[in-house]
């Protein structure tokens, strides 16, 4: 039946149909290519280069996530000061500012990578690790409170206890928002802090603004996921590393940054 119908079509119509169909394949490839190109330009625009600016990604519906800056560039990153949590030499040639979410499984797996980096480059003072908060509220609603907990640890026990608290929290959390917040005072006790004073600090919410400021810094400097690390070379040049990249890659970026004098 179908063949009969085809037979009845005038030959000019068949030719035109065939031509249209032949156009479909190249068109499919072109459309696919365009989709890929637009997606890449749009998504990578927010990260990495210190020489480019990115488009606006306006997160309208979430009140807990900050509005992205008009042009999020790596150069917007807040300068490292003595108010930061720094592991290693505060005057190191290279600073690695890590924006991290305590409930992100990739931040958890990246934590030992950073520790290895400090073992290799931190002991002689060439590299230091700066920790800033980047809680992703839309997927990890507990991360913000946990970030505040680390700040309380810092207030009660100084920089050493801050880092000890972060280490322990990453050790015990199953990630993906699965840590019971009731564990936070236990972690404080484990690292040697006064449980009662820690709980008072945490309940006061006094570090909520500090965490919010770090988060705003992360997004305005191009972070669009965690972990997000900014490597600052001796000449001020900045390199962004997105995600939990292998140690060899981080080491490679550090070696490149150390040559930027």
């Amino acid at each position: 039946m179908e063949n009969q119908n085809i037979e009845r079509e005038p030959s000019s119509m068949k030719n035109s149909q065939n031509k249209n169909n032949n156009f479909m394949i190249p068109l499919a490839i072109i459309i696919g290519g365009v989709i890929i190109a637009v997606s890449v330009i749009y998504s990578s625009g927010n990260s990495a280069s210190n020489l480019r600016t990115a488009g606006v990604a306006n997160i309208k519906e979430s009140n807990t996530e900050p509005q992205r800056a008009e042009s999020a560039t790596i150069n917007n990153i807040r300068p490292v000061t003595d108010k930061d949590h720094i592991l290693g030499n505060p005057n190191a040639q290279v600073m690695v500012v890590e924006f991290s979410d305590l409930e992100c499984p990739f931040c958890k797996s990246f934590h030992p990578t950073m520790q290895q980096l400090i073992d290799e480059y931190g002991k002689d003072g060439r590299v230091a690790w700066v920790y800033r908060h980047f809680p992703l509220d839309s997927i990890h609603s507990k991360a913000r409170k946990e970030a505040e907990a680390t700040e309380c640890a810092g207030e009660l026990g100084g920089n050493t206890k801050f880092w000890a608290y972060v280490d322990r929290l990453f050790e015990v959390t199953p990630s993906n928002n699965n840590l019971d917040l009731g564990e936070l005072p236990n972690i404080a006790e484990f690292v040697g802090l006064d449980r009662t004073r820690f709980a008072q600090c945490l309940d006061s919410g006094k570090y909520a603004q500090h965490v919010a400021d770090d988060l705003a810094d992360a997004t305005s400097s191009g972070g669009n996921g965690t972990p997000y690390s900014v490597v600052i070379a001796p000449n001020g040049k900045k390199f962004a590393i997105s995600g939990a990249q292998p140690y060899a890659s981080v080491k490679s970026v550090i070696d490149i940054a150390l040559q930027e004098k």
Binding site: N3, E7, Q17, N22, M24, I25, A28, I29, G32, I35, I36, S39, Y42, S43, S44, N46, S47, A48, S49, L51, R52, A57, N58, I59, E61, S62, E65, D101, C104, P105, F106, S109, F110, T113, L136, S138, I139, H140, N224, G225, T226, P227, K237, F239, A240, I241, S242, G243, A244, Q245, P246, A248, S249, K251, S252, V253, D255, I256, Q259, E260
Partner: protein, 192 residues
């Protein structure tokens, strides 16, 4: 899918695959495209870093190449098992799909059905949405949804956007099956 349908599906693709990939040029095309798609997916989260280092850093070229190569290790550290699996599958199916379409065109078979066209397009499109490192919140999809003000919707998905990667594998598989059926069709004129 019943076992007979399943074996028919595999059989159709294997038959067409034998025809297409016995020619080295199509096999090479498929492998080259699959490798390119894989590199694209793994480098994507740090494409800015790679570009920046290669264009604006004074480091020796060896250092730059080392960075590009080591970043490929991100498939192990920066992807979940699920996302690494579908990223590799999407790359392979993408290479196969394009090579088979090229073979099909070369045979000068005039009619490519609409369903194959749309399966291929949506397969590639959903692959693009699902791809990207699995590091928290950094899927292309997140950016795309943010643009339309629906980033919170991602939290409702059980795989947080990984669904698009799986959908892509299914659609590309369907596209390959449809093109395989056309390739297996004998090139004869229908009886009058």
């Amino acid at each position: 899918m019943s076992s007979s349908m399943h074996s028919n599906f595999i059989q159709t693709i294997l038959e067409a695959g034998q025809k297409v990939f016995s020619a080295p040029s199509y096999a090479i095309t498929a492998v080259a495209l699959a490798v390119a798609a894989f590199l694209f997916a793994v480098w994507l989260p740090n494409i800015g870093l790679v570009t920046d280092v290669f264009t604006h850093s004074s480091a020796p070229i060896g250092e730059k190449l080392r960075l590009a190569v080591t970043l490929l290790g991100g498939i192990r550290t920066n992807f979940s098992f699920l996302s690494a699996t579908y990223t590799i599958l999407i790359a392979l199916l993408f290479g196969m799909n394009i090579a088979m379409i090229a073979y099909y065109l070369k045979q000068r078979v005039p009619v490519l059905r609409r369903e194959n066209f749309f399966a291929g397009i949506f397969g590639i499109a959903s692959g693009v949405l699902g791809v990207g490192c699995a590091a928290c919140g950094s899927f292309i999809l997140t950016t795309t949804l943010s643009f339309i003000g629906a980033s919170g919707a991602l939290a409702l998905l059980p795989l947080k956007g990984g669904e698009f990667g799986i959908l892509s594998v299914i659609l590309l598989g369907a596209s390959i099956y449809l093109i395989s059926r056309k390739i297996n069709d004998p090139l004869i004129c229908p009886p009058r």
